[in-house]
């Protein structure tokens, strides 16, 4: 009896001790162990944020695909969707192989040339997977910009060769210059150019102007669609086949942009959550301001509001704020967006006048507003926010009294990136044109690229294989 009681008391005491030590673990940890736990948690939070942001940016591929599909004619929809789908697929392969390495590769002591990275090819020896994923989705964004400007007349095979080159070489070099600690333009180094380095928080220049310059060069080299421009300055409109798809695409891009801009804080801990929140606000204000000004301006000019221009205005505002989303105050974000919408409307008209055919407005949205957004950083960045986001106090927006240092670096960066991208993509497009050909035949362009390049149609039940009565036959031959 006594032994049984001792055993049960012992068991109860043992269970009680286990319980206390289980829930009392915190009280038992040393301050150092607690700090490690907190640091671990903060690191995990940062990686988690990057994963979410990267996924949002990857979803922007759907946005690009739908905008481009909506803005082209039915007979070319499959082709433009194929180009968008394969931008991502081939892009991932080449970015893993050489793209990431040229952008961020370093040798054993962590150094690299100011002009290109070298190392980590095939991610060899590199285990910050969240960094690779985040950087890849940005590369994929730059690449997919070009397909829209060259839509409806570009050979599929030639385009794939091009997209592999932009994702593998042209874009990584630019991202190295501006976003790698070894790059010659970067702000992320101890002794940056003009004491500040180029401020391009999420990539108005790095991503959007690179895609935009390539889009412009591509559109010029491949030439305008047949029937677009006639003698005596005549311009013919080719309306897109689905504005609902276009709108859906724009909203998806807009939502994805929160991963693009706010995700560029690269983390939430250590004060970056507040910056990310502020970035979400500036991004929203610029997008909406761009939509408003493009709508109102096109209404004034044309007598009726034009949805296709409103959509471009929203995207233009988003591109315009991408460089300065962390360093401009909300009021400045609105100004940037309003100007972006105006740039869109006049930019689209300018391309018509210059007889450059850009079916989706890729050049006004990504190139013109990419340049505007980068310059706007040098105009509007506030002293407080330059310190908060970049730790720079020596220079800020010139319109706020911050001097010329920042604006000059922005300008140098714009010109350098423009020169590199135009030369590299120009050489490539000319090479493709002279060898395998860049443009489809006239007969193919008339019939539509879908049937000739892919043997399929986007809406076979509506178009019935180009024979309006084919849908009535009960047996179709394969």
């Amino acid at each position: 009896m006594r032994r049984l009681r001792a055993l049960s008391v012992g068991a109860a005491a043992g269970a009680g001790l286990a319980l206390v030590s289980g829930i009392g673990v915190a009280a038992a940890q040393t301050p150092e162990e607690l700090q490690t736990s907190i640091d671990d948690l903060a690191g995990a939070l940062d990686i988690g944020w990057l994963l979410i942001a990267s996924t949002l940016v990857l979803f922007m591929q759907a946005g690009f695909a739908l905008v481009e599909a909506g803005f082209v004619r039915t007979k070319n929809v499959v082709n433009i969707l194929m180009k968008n789908v394969l931008d991502a697929c081939f892009g991932a392969m080449i970015y893993l192989t050489i793209g990431f390495g040229l952008a961020y590769g370093v040798d054993a002591d962590g150094s690299a040339s100011g002009y290109f990275g070298w190392g980590s090819f095939f991610l060899d020896g590199f285990t910050d997977y969240h960094t690779f994923f985040f950087q890849f989705v940005f590369a994929a964004t730059a690449a997919t910009i070009v397909s829209g400007a060259m839509a409806e007349r570009t050979k599929f095979g030639s385009y794939i060769i091009y997209t592999v080159c932009i994702t593998g070489v042209i874009y990584p070099i630019v991202s190295h210059w501006i976003w790698d600690g070894n790059g010659w333009l970067t702000a992320f180094t101890d002794d940056p150019m003009n004491g500040v380095g180029m401020v391009d928080f999420a990539g108005s220049t790095v991503v959007h102007s690179v895609g935009g310059w390539a889009a412009l060069v591509g559109a010029i080299v491949v030439g305008a669609r047949k029937g677009r421009f006639g003698p005596g300055g005549q311009v013919t409109a080719f309306p897109g086949h689905s504005l609902p798809l276009g709108v859906l695409g724009v909203f998806i891009l807009w939502v994805g942009w929160y991963g693009f801009n706010a995700g560029s804080t690269l983390g939430l801990s250590g004060g970056f959550a507040e910056i990310a929140a502020r970035v979400a606000v500036t991004t929203t204000l610029a997008a909406t301001a761009g939509g408003c000004s493009a709508t109102l301006l096109s209404w004034l000019r044309g007598g009726k509001s034009d949805l296709s221009l409103s959509l471009n205005g929203i995207l233009g505002g988003l591109v315009g704020i991408t460089a300065g989303c962390a360093t401009v105050e909300p009021w400045a974000a609105i100004v940037i967006g309003l100007v972006a919408g105006v740039v869109i409307v006049y930019g689209v008209a300018l391309l018509d006048t210059l007889r450059i055919d850009d079916p989706v407005g890729a050049v006004p949205v990504h190139l013109m507003n990419g340049v505007w957004g980068t310059l706007a950083v040098g105009l509007f960045s506030s002293e407080a926010l330059m310190d908060n986001a970049y730790g720079v106090t020596s220079t800020y927006g010139i319109l706020l009294g911050g001097g010329t240092d920042l604006l000059m670096v922005q300008l140098i960066g714009i010109l350098a990136v423009g020169a590199w991208t135009v030369l590299a993509s120009g050489a490539l497009f000319m090479l493709l044109k002279m060898t395998i050909g860049l443009r489809v035949s006239e007969a193919e362009e008339d019939a539509g690229l879908d049937v000739y390049e892919h043997g399929m149609e986007a809406y076979p039940e509506f178009t019935g294989g180009r024979d309006p009565f084919a849908a009535l036959t009960s047996e179709r031959s394969n």
Partner: protein, 112 residues
């Protein structure tokens, strides 16, 4: 027998069909057509440029009717299809030489 060929606005079709329901008629054939009359179409816009849409979608309604039914049917169609705006359409009446009901072989007015 007469053939009534009416080209009307697509959105007036339902009204016209309802208006003809209580008149005993042999049926109608509908075709979706494109065309324009004196109006020459409308103007639309895309990305800051206007363009002409010269061929608008209309519905062509064809009915073969007894001579005595022509006037009431034409009147009903005119009242139902008219909106007063340019683009309301036109009606053409022409004689029909022969009509056959395929199922029974009945001819002419017996086929209607």
């Amino acid at each position: 027998m007469q053939k009534i060929e009416a080209i009307i606005r697509p959105d007036r079709l339902q009204v016209v069909k309802t208006a003809l329901e209580d008149l005993a008629h042999a049926g109608m054939t509908l075709t979706e057509v494109r065309g324009h009359g004196v109006q020459r179409g409308i103007t639309e816009q895309w990305r800051g440029r206007t363009f002409a849409v010269e061929y608008l979608t209309k519905i062509k309604l064809e009915m073969i009717v007894k001579d005595s039914d022509v006037e009431p049917i034409v009147q009903r169609i005119v009242e139902a299809a008219r909106t007063g705006e340019v683009g309301d359409g036109k009606i053409f009446v022409s004689p029909v030489g022969r009509a056959i009901r395929i199922r029974t072989g009945e001819e002419n007015e017996a086929a209607l």
